[in-house]
Amino acid sequence: MLRMRNVTKIYRTDVIETHALREVSLEVSTGEFVAIMGPSGSGKTTFLNVAGLLEPFDTGTFELDGADVSRLSDRTLARLRNEKIGFIFQSFNLIPDLNVYDNVDVPLRYRRMPAAQRHQRITTALELVGITSRMKHVPAQLSGGQQQRVAIARAIAGEPSFLLADEPTGNLDSTTAGQVMDLLERINKMGTTIVMVTHDPELARRAHRSVHLIDGRLSDTEIYRPRAVASPDLGAATA
């Protein structure tokens, strides 16, 4: 569960202060799929960076699975990111030197998992996104849709509680975008909480609810559909 209370984030230079987040309060329950909407510059990505423990915030409180994360060391934050959060980016952010298998392996390496366990996690994640046959390909040899599926496999291989997706279909055509959204829905149904930033209302409607950010402030919430009951049966989801 993710809980923010009056979180503020200000970017400062010598001459200017930019209020990226203004007293944002949001609660995302376990298993929820929430879309964050808003125009460019509204603070969506900053919200995601703060939620993903990639940037500190200035005031307010932030709890992740019940633990206050406002004053943790870099090492603890890195561990929390590694164990609890999976990231999906608009530009995929795969490591160009590494092949598909090694890309998915990255977060597991930092968890110091034994090789056999890592292998099992990687193959399961790649099977889930349907890209096992491209295991030895490097990102440049894949299409955008395939790259995003690899990024999703990398995000879920560590079985995180949260998936934070920043415009995950922004660089994809509509058909591929639909496939990626199907995949995210499937992952959500398996119990993973998803927070997705988008400015596409069509995609947002596939979440349980959407919240709107304007000028760093949460404005309103729309509820589209009730939450599905989580299914732990990975095999069934893969089939």
Partner: protein
């Protein structure tokens, strides 16, 4: 994780071979120049018989003229060598456990495989030379004191001369001609090359030991004059060998081995007493300056390591510093160009310290490659030094060519400098890349 980091480093090398080669070469060049200088310096500065530093002493006394010192730029020192009169008197003392008188001579040898006369350097010396300076024997042994007095026609050959004359075979008991006299080989030395050649520094500090050794008595018997240093301060007629023996010319080297401080005190007393008697008899116009000098002090007094060499070492380190500074710049540029990937790794759970270690391993791998190439360059540079100073060790530049070899000391230096290079070149770039805010690059990648 180290294996993983190493794999990432190797992957990165292949992605960017030009920049990698440049960095490796910069490190190698710095290490190569530094280790070459250090190897030569170490060989020059080392005491090749350090374990006997509290036992071996060069014997000197100031027999020079009243109006000027024997050594102009070190007026506090007596002359390096003794007169024949003083040396032979002191040699009769029973205080030292071992004692050596000696001087180098020219000789012509013939025999064995050597059909034609061969000019070699030789040393007229006393029996204790070999055990005192721990010269190792391949075959046979040295001679005893009675052979010195006889003198007996016995000879000890160096390893190289034995190779040349007898093909390396055991030549003990074989007869050869030495300066037109038959000599019986009693011993063949193993490879032996003390650097610096501490026991005789008069004509170059790093010359090779002589090719043959004959008993002390042959010097007088064959009236052999020194080919080493002979210095005098007053005009004397030296037409005959007898005149030389009775002159104030200093040309005999004397070393003693004293087992303890008590023996050293007794030997010093003997020197001072003898000096006082001679002064009464009208010799020794200068103040009393009789010395028993340890090998380390002897090397310092002889300025075996000169200030120029020390400066050269400093310059070599400065050069290494410049090379490493270039590497720091290149590495920093390379690491920062990989900042977006670091951002991804941070998002996926890498801590700052993990990023730091990953990049430090990268720098370490570069330094390792640099040190391997550095070994090659060092060997090449040392070969260059040998070539530059090549030729006859007796006539060329103090025998530098003999000490410019890649050895264990060089390897230790390479290893040490590789670690330093990895740390110096890698620390700042690795620290800097670890501080990159991950979110900055994730959107823009």
């Amino acid at each position: 994780m180290l294996g993983y980091y190493l794999r990432l480093a190797l992957k990165s090398f292949t992605r960017d071979p030009g920049a990698t080669a440049l960095m490796v070469f910069a490190i190698a060049l710095g290490i190569g120049v530094c280790v070459m200088t250090l190897t030569v310096y170490h060989a020059m500065a080392g005491n090749p018989i350090w374990w006997k530093n509290d036992r071996l002493y060069a014997v000197t006394m100031d027999s020079w003229a009243a109006e000027r010192p024997a050594i102009r730029d070190q007026p506090q020192l007596p002359p390096w060598q003794l007169t024949y009169t003083d040396a032979t008197y002191l040699f009769n003392s029973s205080i030292p456990e071992r004692k050596v008188l000696m001087y180098p001579v020219a000789a012509v040898v013939m025999g064995g495989n050597q059909g034609k006369p061969l000019k070699v350097t030789s040393r007229v010396t006393s029996a204790d030379f070999f055990p005192m300076f721990e010269a190792p024997f391949r075959y046979g042994s040295g001679w005893n004191a009675s052979a010195d007095a006889g003198p007996e026609p016995v000879i000890v050959l160096s390893y190289d001369l034995n190779e040349r004359m007898f093909g390396g075979a055991n030549s003990v008991s074989r007869i050869l001609r030495w300066n037109n006299h038959d000599f019986r080989v009693v011993g063949v030395l193993d490879r032996w090359q003390p650097q610096p050649r501490f026991y005789d520094l008069t004509k170059g500090h790093f010359n090779e030991p002589e090719a043959a050794y004959v008993p002390w008595g042959w010097g007088k018997a064959l009236q052999l004059r020194t080919v080493g240093e002979a210095k005098y301060w007053k005009f004397e007629k030296l037409d005959t060998f007898e005149q030389l023996l009775g002159s104030e010319v200093t040309w005999i080297q004397m070393w003693v081995e004293l087992p303890d401080a008590k023996a050293r005190t007794r030997m010093q007393t003997l020197l001072d007493t003898y000096w006082a008697e001679q002064r009464k008899a009208g010799r020794f116009a200068r103040p009393q300056n009789n010395r028993l000098t340890t090998v380390s002090q002897w090397l310092r007094d002889n300025q075996v390591v000169q200030d120029d060499n020390r400066l050269l070492v400093v310059l070599a380190f400065v050069f290494l510093g410049v090379c490493l500074l270039n590497t720091v710049g290149l590495l920093l540029a390379k690491f920062l160009s990989g900042a977006p990937v670091v951002g991804i790794r941070r998002a996926l759970g890498a801590s700052r310290s993990q990023i730091f270690i990953q990049h430090l391993v990268h720098a370490g791998a570069l330094a390792f490659a640099g040190s391997l190439l550095g070994v090659g360059l060092t060997a090449l540079f040392l070969w260059g030094v040998r070539s530059m100073y090549g030729g006859d060790p007796d006539t060329s530049s103090g025998g530098y060519q003999a000490l410019a070899h890649f050895n264990v000391i060089s390897l230790v230096w390479v290893t040490g400098l590789a670690v330093v290079a990895a740390l110096v070149a890698g620390l700042y770039p690795a620290w800097r890349i670890g501080r990159v805010p991950p979110a900055l690059y994730l959107k823009s990648q």
